[in-house]
């Protein structure tokens, strides 16, 4: 089963992607997934534990390469890239947000946000300034010099989001970003993602929770490494970009 949200301006294309772990028995973590995410779309991925959500996310995020099939990000075929080129692509086109925040414990909030800039452009004079602007944007303008341990869970995730935005990526990948947060904080974080999406950033978000998935335009349901169903929620949100995406989705729905 495939899923295609837009053929004209796609941020991510996956074609019959497979990822198998060879243990005592081969584990087909991702078993023939095709999907295509339009630029500016907001997609949630749901599915039971072990259904391959994180594996798919890593493949889309260039952290992993498929055993079979093809993944293309911003028009570049991931399988053809070298290790370092993939690192570069991650640094420039993709922002990651993880369930466990994954900040550098010894660096301050501001330093965590500058980290992707440091790897991207060694002679960037005003990255401190941009880090401050990003942290202000996620509501942490007064926590620049705090270490992760000096921040609450929600604040840490905001820092992680600010870091994901450091190099102005076109795609943000979030693997259960609210999994460790209470529902109130969850809503705040999700509002940030919606805001980002409204500005045109493509978002792919893994979640267990229906209420989180409902922030997205559409939901991809995974089961045993395959797409089981694609749910279209586009009309739920009356946002400006909705038109284009919704239009694109109409075509897709028939395909589902």
């Amino acid at each position: 089963m495939g899923y295609e949200s837009d053929s004209a301006a796609t941020a991510v294309v996956a074609e019959d992607v497979r990822r198998t772990y060879h243990l005592a028995e081969p584990v087909h973590a991702v078993d023939g997934v095709s999907l295509s995410l339009a630029e500016g779309s907001f997609t949630a991925v749901m599915g039971p534990s072990g259904s391959g959500k994180s594996t798919l996310m890593n493949l889309v995020g260039c952290l992993d390469t498929p055993d079979d099939g093809r993944v293309a990000i911003a028009g570049q075929s991931v399988g053809e890239l070298s290790d370092d080129d993939r690192a570069h692509l991650r640094g420039t086109e993709i922002g990651f947000v993880f369930q466990t925040f994954d900040l550098m414990a010894r660096l301050t909030a501001a330093e965590n946000v500058t980290l992707p800039m440091v790897f991207h452009d060694p002679v960037d004079a005003d990255r401190r300034e941009r880090a401050r602007a990003l942290l202000e944007r996620v509501g942490l303008g007064d926590r620049l010099e705090h270490k992760p341990t000096e921040l609450s869970g929600g604040q840490r995730q905001r820092v992680a989001i600010a870091r994901a935005l450091a190099n102005e990526p076109s795609l943000v990948l979030a693997d259960e970003p609210t999994g460790n947060l209470d529902s109130e904080t969850e809503a705040e974080i999700m509002d940030l993602f919606v805001e980002l999406n409204d500005e045109g950033t493509t978002i792919l978000l893994v979640t267990h929770e229906r209420e989180v998935a409902e922030y997205a335009d559409h939901v991809v349901h995974l089961l045993d490494g395959r797409i089981e169903d694609v749910e279209h929620l586009g009309e739920r949100r009356d946002v400006a970009v909705g038109d284009r995406v919704t239009g694109a989705l109409e075509e897709v729905t028939g395909d589902v």
Partner: protein, 407 residues
């Protein structure tokens, strides 16, 4: 990735493990400190001996016999009396030679004043007044006549009531005979503190050692000669002439043992030979200290490997946000180089301090072995690079997904 940035991040992670980092660098600290300490002590020792000599150089040279011992290494001075009266007379005739003063030991077992006896430690040498031509007297003057003697400062201080000009000194010879001489002067020692306490008496009449010359005569012969040139400019030509004569034409050339070597050494030559020996010794000790450095770098490598494992997750994060292999490699290398350099710097400081304490205690002059300090720092950097290479390489190869799954 920017170099300064990696230094900042490396420094941060070192700072967050202060105790561990300190212990890690201990090996390098000890190694470097040991090398620097020995270098300071070595140069101090050398300077304590040759410093004074160089200050007021004299146009004199020593003629002596040396041999390379069969077992053991280095050079030994032989004290067989082979320089005859005829040799001395011939040498005195050479152009530019001011004087030739023989020197030979006497078998004296005890030296004493009316109040005090000193047994064993005092060396008694027979010579001529010329030997003191360039010496500095702290008291009195050179001897002039058979019943006078000159003592050096060490000999003077060997007596509780320091000997001074005018004191009576009774020498007891091995065969039981005694002679009483008057101290004419106290002379400053040329080789500084290292000179043994010595009493100098006139060769005439006390020196009686004779040898059968190649000409068939029986003549007095001495184990050492001191040759004085007219001035410093004359030293080099005189050294050449003296060498030529003693090696080819003198009685000594025929009387010396096979394998023995006649040496004509100016003060400068002596200094050189001496520093060579000290240098070799210091180098040897330095090499031993170098082992500590090897141990030190193994320590750094070990802790860096532990640190790579510990920080696997961090490496995963860095890779996820765009770090390339060489960025990760650089981070870890910089960290181990910082450790190495800190070790070297602290080691240098500690070594200088220990060396300073040592030379102060021994009353030697302080020296700053600049080239060794430079070497120590270079070694610190290299130890950091070498011991960090493998861990950094491992870090660079970490798979980001595995790393992010890592607890």
């Amino acid at each position: 990735m920017n170099f300064l940035e990696s230094i900042r991040i490396g420094w941060r992670s070192i700072g967050s493990h202060k105790l561990r980092s300190t212990l890690t660098t201990l090996g390098v600290i000890i190694g470097v400190a040991a090398v620097i300490t020995f270098m300071v002590l070595g140069s101090g020792f050398t300077a304590s001996i040759i410093g004074d000599i160089e200050a007021d150089q004299e146009p004199v040279m020593m003629v002596q016999t040396q041999t390379v011992p069969e077992d053991g290494f280095g050079i030994m001075t032989v004290d067989s009396p082979i320089y005859t009266e005829s040799d001395i007379a011939e040498l005195e005739e050479l152009d530019g030679v001011e004087f030739v003063a023989p020197e030979g030991g006497l078998d004296v077992v005890q030296a004493g004043t009316d109040d005090e006896q000193v047994t064993g430690v005092i060396d008694v040498q027979a010579t001529t007044a010329d030997a003191f031509e360039f010496s500095t007297f702290v008291d009195g003057e050179t001897f002039d006549g058979p019943d006078e003697a000159v003592v050096n400062e060490q000999a003077s201080q060997a007596f509780e009531a320091n000997l001074s000009a005018g004191d009576e000194l009774t020498l007891t010879f091995e065969d039981g005979e005694t002679e009483t001489v008057t101290v004419a002067g106290v002379v400053e020692s040329e080789l500084g503190d290292q000179t043994p306490p010595t009493v100098y008496v006139p060769a005439e009449p006390y020196y009686t050692t004779t040898i059968g010359t190649p000409d068939g005569d029986e003549e007095r012969a001495y184990p050492f000669l001191q040759v004085g040139a007219e001035d410093l400019d004359a030293v080099d030509p005189v050294q050449e002439d003296v060498t030529e004569y003693v090696e080819d034409e003198s009685h000594a050339a025929e009387l010396k043992q096979d394998g023995d070597e006649i040496e004509v050494q100016t003060v400068e030559d002596a200094i050189e030979q001496f520093s060579d020996i000290v240098d070799q010794l210091t180098l040897f000790i330095g090499a031993v200290a170098g082992i500590a450095l090897v141990v030190g770098s193994i320590g750094i490598a070990n802790i860096m490997i532990v640190s790579v494992t510990e920080r696997t997750r961090e490496i995963g994060i860095m890779k996820a946000v765009g770090a390339r292999r060489r960025d990760v490699m650089q981070l870890f290398l910089v960290e181990s180089v910082i450790l190495g350099v800190i070790g070297a710097l602290v080691g240098v400081a500690l070594g200088l301090a220990a060396g300073y304490a040592g030379v102060t205690l021994l009353e030697w002059p302080m020296a700053y072995p600049l080239e060794w300090i430079a070497i120590a720092i270079v070694v610190g950097v290299s130890v950091g690079v070498v011991s960090g290479l493998y861990p950094a390489w491992r870090a660079a190869r970490v798979d980001p997904i595995e790393a992010l799954r890592h607890e």
